[in-house]
């Protein structure tokens, strides 16, 4: 089948974009109600949970992975310790809300600068030396986080091994007619059954409210990162990733740009942690172990490195797969013994290796290839007769030119 060609910048393109964004927005709203209380899929006698709680958790992970996109994806610095900042954000929020009576969202005023500064500090080795030293340091700090928050000296703040729970609840405001919307959706013939069986309880309404808050926080984060990537510092980041030496001789301030990337990426990790505590109402030490740090890397790679949609896909993968793997109690010929235990982690590990081999751009790149079969965005031909055509490649890169293939061809040649 020939792909439909759409000219970038044409009226058709604007319609296309509006439709895509409209559908995405509609999906976001529908998800809130659809998965509130009947969020469950049954496949081969196994029940898979898809409740809003899971989705809210996924949003927290998505924001953290977005931070990794800034550090690893766009700046090329291999930092592995995002769980450290996720945990830091979570504990700061929990402490401020529980002990200092702050509002949840206002804690971001502390979380963001704190994680930014710590991120810059842990990134310092990368300013002096190349290679995997940064990976080593950051993974080490991810590993020590649980024992840090268990320190006796910090007990008053962190509540040690018990975890810091937060009593303050997020309550849906009265002016929001959540119940009414749910009623309307349930009234739709046939499709109504997917939107629950009765009225929203207040707990359910609170959950939807939280979901909306989280989506809003995430949207702001994505908007900021998308703009950062296109900005001057963002291009400096990508120059460093592609070739540090030539970036330096082109006048990019390596130390400042890298520090900024570490700071922004780590701050996003902290925001993710805040969202996590808002959803769970507790921050416990072992939730923020090096396993979570590695899971974030899984999310980054599985979704797609240096891709903003990749962060979304990755967040869902690491929020849902371990959970689904443990709810899988029977799979055809596999003996039950092998389904009990850390199957989710095994699955993520295997996924990580397989994707690195077969789909280096992650699921998003796979999706792009699939999309290219149906719609292809064609860049505007240059207007001026003497404009060199090379200029348009900038736009083309955006979507469908398979740079990876060329890159891979290069690597094959040189090895």
């Amino acid at each position: 089948m020939a792909a439909k060609k759409i000219l970038v910048g044409s009226a058709q393109h604007r319609t296309y974009k509006a439709v895509v964004w409209g559908l995405a927005l509609l999906a976001l709203v529908l998800v809130a109600f659809a998965f509130n209380d009947v969020g469950q899929i049954t496949l081969f006698d196994n029940k898979y949970n898809l409740s809003l709680t899971r989705i809210n958790k996924a949003i927290a992970f998505i924001i953290a992975i977005l931070g990794l996109q800034v550090i690893i994806g766009y700046t090329g610095q291999i930092a592995l310790g995002q769980s450290f900042f996720f945990g830091l954000g979570a504990y700061i929020t929990a402490y401020l809300v529980q002990d200092q009576n702050w509002g949840y969202l206002s804690t971001l005023a502390v979380v963001v600068p704190a994680c930014f500064i710590v991120g810059v500090i842990l990134g310092l080795p990368a300013l002096r030396i190349h290679g995997l030293y940064l990976a080593l340091v950051t993974l080490a700090f991810a590993a020590i986080f649980p024992s840090l928050v268990r320190l006796d000296q910090l007990f008053d703040i962190t509540n040690g091994s018990n975890g810091k729970s937060v009593e303050s609840k997020l309550v849906a405001p009265d002016w929001l007619p959540l119940d009414g919307i749910a009623g309307v959706l349930q009234g739709i013939p046939y499709f109504g059954q997917f939107f629950g069986d009765g009225d929203l309880s207040s707990r359910e309404a609170d959950r939807v409210w939280k979901y909306m808050l989280f989506v809003a926080v995430a949207a702001v984060c994505f908007w900021l990162v998308a703009n950062l990537v296109k900005s001057r510092p963002g291009r400096a980041m990508q120059a460093i990733r592609d070739n540090e030496a030539s970036a330096a001789v082109s006048g990019v301030d390596l130390a400042r740009t890298k520090s900024m990337a570490f700071g922004v990426g780590s701050a996003l990790g902290g925001v993710g942690g805040t969202v996590y505590v808002m959803e769970l109402g507790i921050a416990s030490p072992d939730d923020f172990s090096q396993l979570l740090a590695i899971n974030f890397i899984v999310g980054l790679v599985v979704g797609g490195v240096a891709s903003l949609p990749g962060a979304v896909v990755g967040g869902f993968v690491i929020a849902l797969i371990p959970d689904w793997a443990s709810s899988t109690q029977s799979v055809g010929f596999v003996p039950e013994r092998w389904l009990q235990g850390p199957t989710g982690t095994l699955f993520l590990g295997a996924l990580l290796i397989l994707l690195t081999f077969f789909l280096p751009g992650g699921i998003v790149a796979g999706g792009r290839k699939l999309k290219a079969k149906f719609v292809s965005l064609v860049p505007q031909p240059p207007d001026l007769p003497n404009t060199p055509t090379a200029i348009t490649t900038d736009d083309a890169v955006d979507d469908d030119v398979d740079l990876d293939a060329i890159e891979r061809a290069n690597q094959v040649q040189t090895t």
Partner: protein, 299 residues
């Protein structure tokens, strides 16, 4: 100052430090060959220790025979891993390789959990029990003595292997100049494979000795902390120096058991954090470690 207590702490540090040094040694071997840090090194070693346990417990092989068998098997497994998962990638591009080793980390850790479950197992004692020195609270157990002996013997063996054999020469050549190694007829792939096998063997030996510690039990997560200490040790020693790994391991061991004990405001649970801070400080102020080769980057 209580001399007996100080000695007791030093002896503790010696035993732990030697274990860290073993795993650090494994990290150093792979780093020397490829400038890659194998984040799955601790887990590969853990798997080796479980293989030794199974050979001993389920198949009745004498314990040292089981350990040797595990060392050989894990070396073979690592050679396979290198061939299948590592070699296809460009060695200069770190991210895919790091991702692969992280995937291995998750895979091995969860596989061990599935196979051996999560209950702690009692590893057989490899060394005579009792103490070599018994002076009040200052006790030097035979376990510590033999652990130190194991790392020393491993180091001497490795040094001889690398400096006196042809495959050792090839290994050093590849780690010094990859392209010229090809030009003198060295097959780079198999040489790096040899490095992976060697590292896994050393790591497994270290993991077995560690698991034989009378105060420890064998479980899938028991090497997680060790990897962090070992990384700090390897960085301290310079990441590409074999004897630096020993020095770094002992230093981290002493920091953990001696320094942390004597600085009043540093709490007990801080030993792991101390290792991480040592790591950060070393990389900031002396990136080449204390025995390593300074890194030069050419444009």
């Amino acid at each position: 100052m209580d001399v007996q207590l100080l000695l007791a702490r030093i002896f503790d540090g010696l035993a732990n430090g030697s274990t860290y040094a073993m795993v650090a040694l494994a990290l150093v071997i792979i780093y020397k060959a490829t400038t890659l840090i194998n984040f799955a090194q601790g887990e590969m070693a853990m798997l080796g220790a479980f293989i030794a346990y199974t050979a001993w417990f389920n198949f009745g092989i004498p314990m040292w025979g089981a350990v040797i068998l595990a060392v050989i098997l894990s070396a073979i497994l690592a050679a396979l891993v290198e061939r299948v998962l590592i070699r296809p990638f460009d060695p200069a591009d770190h991210l895919p390789l790091v991702i692969i080793t992280l995937g291995l980390f998750l895979g091995i850790n969860s596989l061990a959990g599935l196979i051996w479950r999560l209950d702690p197992l009692r590893f057989p004692e490899l060394f005579p029990s009792g103490n070599a020195i018994d002076w009040g609270t200052a006790r030097l157990s035979w376990y510590t003595v033999f652990t130190v002996a194991t790392i020393l013997l491993s180091l001497v063996g490795l040094t001889l292997l690398l400096n006196k054999t042809k495959v050792g020469l090839a290994f050093r050549a590849v780690s010094s100049n990859l392209e010229s190694s090809q030009l003198v007829g060295i097959k780079v792939g198999p040489t790096l494979q040899f490095g992976w096998a060697l590292a896994a063997g050393v790591g497994t030996l270290g993991a077995c000795v560690f698991a034989a510690n009378p105060v420890l039990q064998l479980e899938p997560s028991y090497m997680l902390r060790v990897l962090i200490f070992a990384s700090a040790a390897a960085a301290l020693g310079g990441l590409d120096s074999l004897w630096g790994a020993l020095a770094g391991g002992l230093a981290v061991g002493f920091v953990q058991s001696v320094v942390v004990q004597y600085i009043p405001w540093v709490p007990n649970q801080m030993s792991l954090a101390a290792a991480a801070v040592v790591l950060l400080a070393v990389l900031l102020f002396r990136p080449a470690g204390f025995f390593g080769t300074a890194q030069v980057s050419r444009v």
